[in-house]
């Protein structure tokens, strides 16, 4: 909580129960602010997609937007996985849209409305970790399902000398196992860092105004910087969603096509 004169930039990432839920497998399931914003993302995404469901021959602006996004995902799949990738489109689409809408919703200035505390779902490592874990599970399941133990040949690049194989194998295996963590951390860190940066500069503004006098210049500079970082963050929102979707499809491509 932001007590007088003390601004905690980490407060925005706290998950708090809105009302108590039930117990599942010994875990307390509460309806949290995080869940609330997840559902906000869901509703927003649904409204956005409904706008593209008019299915007109000559599309309106909204329909063009929705069709553009769908075509964008189809392109990612077609380019990185190939013709076999059609069945993975729903998952990549889910990832991209959920992450994009979560990122953007977290950047919207809802904080100026009293009582509403914006929350970025993708700033939780639990969330990005679960998304990455699902993607990685798909890679493992598809890989072993399609290729069996031949899937391990993924860790030995073509033309590796025999005496190098054990070393290369372990290195490649390690890098493969790190993938889900790097996937989850990249998004989580990008979101959390941007939000902290904005909050820190916001606290500078408050402190500078409190101090008065020549500090007004610092306040002004900080506001300029906040505007700049916000613009950058909007870009990062889209880029991180794209990177997550692209890397997921590349990893799936490894499993699907095995080199």
């Amino acid at each position: 909580m932001a007590t007088e004169g003390k601004i905690d930039p980490m407060h925005q990432f706290e998950v708090q129960p809105i009302f108590d839920g039930f117990t599942l497998f010994g875990q307390q399931i509460d309806f949290t602010n995080s869940a609330l914003w997840m559902f906000a993302v869901l509703v927003l995404l649904y409204v956005f997609m409904m706008g593209g469901m008019k299915r007109e021959l000559v599309p309106g602006r909204w329909q063009v937007m929705v069709e553009g996004v769908v075509g964008f995902i189809d392109n990612i799949i077609a380019n990185s996985i190939g013709p076999n990738g059609k069945k993975y489109t729903p998952w990549v689409f889910t990832l991209f849209m959920f992450i994009l809408f979560s990122n953007l919703l977290g950047m919207m200035p809802f904080g100026i409305i009293p009582g509403i505390h914006p929350f970025t779902v993708t700033s939780q490592f639990t969330v990005t970790g679960l998304l990455a874990a699902i993607s990685f599970s798909i890679v493992l399941i598809v890989g072993f399902w399609k290729h069996g133990f031949k899937f391990f040949s993924l860790f030995i690049p073509h033309g590796t000398p025999v005496w190098m194989m054990p070393l290369i194998f372990s290195v490649e295996l390690l890098s493969f196992l790190v993938r889900p963590f790097s996937l989850a951390l990249r998004l989580f860190v990008a979101m959390i860092a941007g939000h902290i940066l904005i909050k820190v500069f916001a606290s500078f503004v408050v402190q500078a105004i409190d101090a008065g006098g020549a500090s007004w210049g610092i306040a002004l500079l900080s506001i300029l910087f906040i505007a700049f970082v916000s613009a950058l963050e909007l870009l990062v929102c889209a880029i991180q969603a794209y990177v997550f979707a692209l890397l997921t499809s590349l990893y799936i491509s490894d499993a699907e096509n095995l080199h």
């Binding site: 559902f39 869901l42 929705v66 769908v70 489109t89 889910t94």
Partner: protein, 154 residues
């Protein structure tokens, strides 16, 4: 406070709804709309191309037939011209021979008339010469002599 449980729970629900409700249900329809539109555009383009080809074919046929008709007309005209020219030539020839014949006859008649007239003049002149000689000199000139002299004078 442990929030992992509730985070996972709600995230799985939301992701599940997005996956099955939107990504598996709505996205294919949108893709299909795009594909249908693309197909319709290419079909329309193909139909337009076919129609244009057909129109060009018709125009080519029309050109060929008009050229044929023109050639036939030119042939007929020249044929008629040749026929008329032949006819004219024959008529002229006929007329020509008739005229030549008539001219020759007239020529012959003229010559006959001239010679008879000459003979008459000779006779008259001989008579006149006989009479003149008789009156002037009193000599008798025979008719044959007079005739000889006249002929010589002519």
């Amino acid at each position: 406070m442990e929030v992992y449980g509730s985070q996972f729970f709600w995230l799985l629900i939301v992701i599940g709804i997005i996956y099955f409700g939107i990504a598996k249900n709505m996205v294919p329809k949108i893709s299909k709309t795009v594909d249908d539109r693309q197909k319709r555009i290419s079909d329309d383009l193909a139909a337009a191309q076919a129609a244009q080809d057909k129109a060009e074919q018709i125009e080519a046929n029309y050109r060929v037939s008009i050229n044929d008709a023109r050639a036939a007309a030119v042939g007929k005209v020249s044929e008629a011209k040749a026929k008329v020219a032949k006819k004219n030539e024959a008529a002229i020839k006929r007329a020509d021979t008739a005229i030549t014949k008539k001219a020759n006859e007239a020529d012959a008649a003229l010559k006959a008339a001239q010679s008879s007239a000459l003979k008459e003049i000779e006779a008259v002149a001989a008579d006149a010469a006989q009479a003149i000689v008789k009156t002037v000199s009193g000599a008798k000139v025979t008719a044959t002599d007079a005739k000889k002299a006249v002929k010589a004078a002519f």
